[in-house]
Amino acid sequence: MLTKLEYLSVVLFFVGCGSKTNSNKPDVGVSHDASAVADSLGTSDVPAPSDSRRDSAGPPDGVADGESPREDLPSAPVEAAREAPTLRDLAADDLVHQDRPAEDGPGDVPAFDLVTPSDQTGRDRAPEGAVADAAVADVVDVAADVPPEAAREVPPFAVDGSLASFCSGDIARMVVNGIESRPAVRGIYYLLSCCAAGAISVATATFIEPIAVGWLDWGMAHTASPVTFDLANLPDGFTVRVVAGCDPQDMSCTLPCDPKDTGSTNLGDGYDSGFTGVLAIARTPEGYDTSLCLHVEEPAGSPHPILHSLDLYAPHVLVSHH
């Protein structure tokens, strides 16, 4: 028979062991968890989310950083499952104007403030503070802190599948024909009779041809309010086109698919379909705030002359009429 004092000692001993056991549990931390999942999936070369955040402030074009250009692409399922609403979630709302609070909070710094034209000098690195903000925004849902004004201007933007980790953070990135780069990004506003339209033009030192992604909303039916489009299932009246090989603002540019201009010597390359990813558009006093996550590649047996494959992430590009 134990005395009260002995009984208490035994109880305290076990309580102490329990606490110690709990404290020894592996952290359910982001990078550990990702590595474990990657190992279990047989993709142990998948970088942890912390790696992708490092990539956001990573080296400029032409610096390999010990990684092949597409190594970070397969990490998508790991991050997507934990951090972002799925593309299917967005697709369900596809044509619904989304006035609900944004996923990203005020901590997000618009990318057009961060991306600069230099690819080679490292000037396209984001300020450390901004990257830290981006890292926090990646994992913390701060929608509750978004003021109503911001919620109207920043549509939800999240990607599922293989593009999920590629399309994260505040820095534009691109993989064109298998070569990764940090492009300079520019928004182009189109003043048209028929429609709302804009484009994102990218330039990088590692790919000589200009590339642009344009969108056109016939009758302005879809972009009156913030909206996110599933690029694989665009609604009627909304078109997206990718062009390469000619400055989209050059009046002399034409495409092979334009029947009137087959004799032109200034032909480019283009895609009208076959896209995956998302495009978010929100009207602002200056024009449009657009975020793009896009993948397109030439169909088997139908090679394109310039652009064989393209992954492009361009967050918060201002398409301004100024």
């Binding site: 189109y190 048209l192 009779s193 429609c195 339209a197 484009a199 344009g214 056109l216 009046m251 009137k260």
Partner: protein, 107 residues
Amino acid sequence: MEAQPLPHEECPQDGGQSGSLDASCDVARLEDAVSRAAGWRCEANGLSEALTYAVVIDCEGRAIDLLGPMFPEGKRQAWLDSLANDRRACFAGQSVQFTCKIYLFPP
């Protein structure tokens, strides 16, 4: 080429055609002028519906208005001023339609 008579204009039979200032009835010159305003290549017989303009010509053959998207403010008047000395008697009393080709958004 699509040239519509202006509903409000009743030009005399010789509406401006006898004017000594008649610069040209060549639509290509007007196409060039509209293209300059639009920033895109515009044609009187174009196919695109994305960007259209109409040049309003009065009975004396002067371009008196440019209808269509124009940005920024003041650009329209500057464009009209640049054509002030031209007379396009062939189009007197009409509005001439132009459509513009945009590389990213072909017809």
